[in-house]
Symmetry: C2
Subunit: 377 residues, 2 copies
């Protein structure tokens, strides 16, 4: 039986039971708020995970690349939102997917792109569905809900013969918060901005059936979502140390970890050297400016018990430096001898998962099975 | 013809002519210093690149994972140094490679591991070759050259029946420097520490034929290398912005870039949004504490001309935020309209390359051919 004791290291471990608890928690919350859940599958790019999300009640998926759309459509999922602004160069691939039966929706925040999508659709006799991206917090893309651009984009879509399917926004700045009151306020800001954009479009005579919002922190902090039809969230399926610092999970809720082996020490410095460097953990230092800086990750014993204060304080490509924050551990050699196996909780589950070609999914009996994941574009 | 104008974005572009100039520069330097060059292939994990290094005169390779050893041995390369401290759990895979004819060398800095390697070799009737890792600058692993541990490890290897093949060190702290005088001094420190360790082992009666040192910055800064038999270096093959800040290359020497497309703007902020986020660039922020902070990368036009001051100031998974450092560009929308293609120079070529399943190698005529690279363990 393959298990934590004989898997080659480093390996990306998924605790299936914990993942299921995370899925159930989010789905129950969305059911309670009366909205559909459209998980963002960029976190895992892994079919067994997405199947578990669908089985729990999710409806449709969100993707960040057309490769994700291709792969999940090939697995039978048709209701797909491509949530990165479309450019004309990518329309041929979009059209091919739609002609094969994929109900692929696009987004834009740009009137010229909206016109180009319309032209492309007319040239090919196929109306494409586009949602308008709304900026609710200034963190990245989108048009402000009160802007004239919003109506220009709506008009360009409608006049071009495209289907204006809805509006969508993502309060990415929620990752910078760590206070429940501020999170609830941002969730309301996200909701209000997106609903307002939909109301303005409708008042101008356009259809706007979908109102789509979401990020893991706001999804778990919203008190009510009137006017919203669906929520998108990704990282909740595994959670990570960034989310623990934001305050929407505990470290023990994290379902993804990197299995590693102690390969040496620097006793005078209190260092154990492990075979999980940044190639395994990723270079993500998302907790650097948060409440607790976990370096490149928080160490646990193989059974998941936290090694309080022991973090990956440094990382080279295939080397991690494990040390105790504050006072170096003078007994590191005897506490964690060469060959000791540890699990490292990641700062950012999306980034760490992307370093691996597969997850090793661990069932309640401790047996592991390989769950393939894909990467690239 | 596939070229910069029609490749799907994001894509990892290798400028073949520039790569060859980088290879030739390092090889000529090593030839002049009278030492062998053993390139570290963890940077590229790509056979056409390694073939070009071998064709220029490199002898043997350095790897950071046993998967790299497997893959390059399958391609016919037999002289391989696995430059991460060995642990007993990995010896079965090592033995299988050696029995198939791979001249795989291991490293350790630990007497107990040395004993375990000896036991394993005796149990299987096969003497393994091990080099002792030396700590020359305190940055990571290795035994100090003046330590008693050095001789204990040597004795454990010799008494255990292993082959003590040599000593090796890596002045990883060279990445923190940016002054030619300090770099030359560190190169001498690296050399002296490793040569001293070899001398102490020989004085104690042990063979120690190989003295192996190296990092790209010290390899390009050493004035002379008496006593050294070989140098290891990896990132020089492509170079990157970290190396430009260290001062051992210019930005225009960088042979790797990420091709990206402008997908939108935030005009009031002077932002262009591009489809190269951290999934393409990696999360590496290696220039953050250097002389020039390039954010997630330096923008160039497709012909390689630098867009001075324009960097990826932010990155989400599939979104990059391109902006001008200092004063926001009020003309960003007309300067870089939606659909514009750009190339982004990476902070860290090893990390950025690892995000892609292949490089698109560009010849002098502008045609691209796919060079596969592998990942994982």
């Amino acid at each position: 039986m393959t298990s934590l004791h004989n898997l080659p290291t480093p390996a990306a471990i998924v605790d299936i039971a914990q993942m299921q608890r995370n899925i159930d928690r989010m789905q129950a919350r969305m059911d309670g708020l009366g909205v559909r859940l459209r998980p963002h599958v960029k976190t895992t790019k892994c079919l067994p995970v997405v199947r578990a999300q669908q089985a729990a009640g999710a409806q449709g998926i969100t993707v960040s690349t057309l490769k994700e759309a291709e792969q999940f459509f090939a697995a039978g999922i048709t209701d797909i939102l491509y949530a990165v602004g479309i450019v004309p160069d990518k329309l041929e691939q979009v059209l091919a997917l739609r002609r094969r039966g994929c109900d692929l929706k696009l987004i834009t925040d740009n009137a010229q792109v909206a016109q180009a999508v319309g032209r492309f659709g007319r040239d090919h006799g196929h109306a494409l569905e586009v949602w308008i991206e709304i900026d609710c917090d200034g963190h990245r893309s989108g048009v402000p809900p009160e802007s004239t651009t919003l109506l220009e984009v709506g008009r360009a879509l409608a006049e071009g013969g495209s289907v204006l399917g809805g509006v969508m926004t993502h309060a990415g700045s929620s990752y910078d918060l760590d206070d429940p009151v501020a999170l609830e306020a941002l969730a309301e800001q996200e909701r209000a901005a997106c609903v307002r954009a939909a109301e303005r479009l409708r008042a101008a005579g356009f259809d706007c059936p979908v109102v789509s919002v979401g990020s893991t922190p706001t999804a778990l902090s919203a008190r009510a979502l009137p006017g919203v039809t669906e929520v998108r969230a990704g990282v909740y399926v595994f959670f990570d140390l960034v989310m623990a610092n934001v305050g929407v999970c505990r470290p023990q809720d994290i379902a993804l970890s990197v299995l590693t082996t102690v390969i040496g020490h620097q006793p005078a410095k209190g260092w154990a050297i492990v075979d999980a460097g940044w190639m395994a953990m990723s270079r993500d230092r998302g907790t650097q400016r948060q409440r607790t800086d976990y370096g490149y990750g928080q160490a646990c014993m193989p059974d998941g018990v936290l090694l309080d204060g022991y973090v990956l304080s440094g990382a080279n490509q295939e080397h991690g430096i494990l040390s105790r924050a504050g006072a170096p551990d003078p007994d590191i050699v005897t506490r964690l001898p060469v060959g000791t196996r540890l699990r490292i909780l990641p700062n950012h589950a999306c980034a760490t998962g992307a370093q691996f070609p597969r997850y090793e999914a661990l069932d309640a009996a401790g047996a592991s099975v390989a769950w393939e994941r894909f990467s690239g574009w």
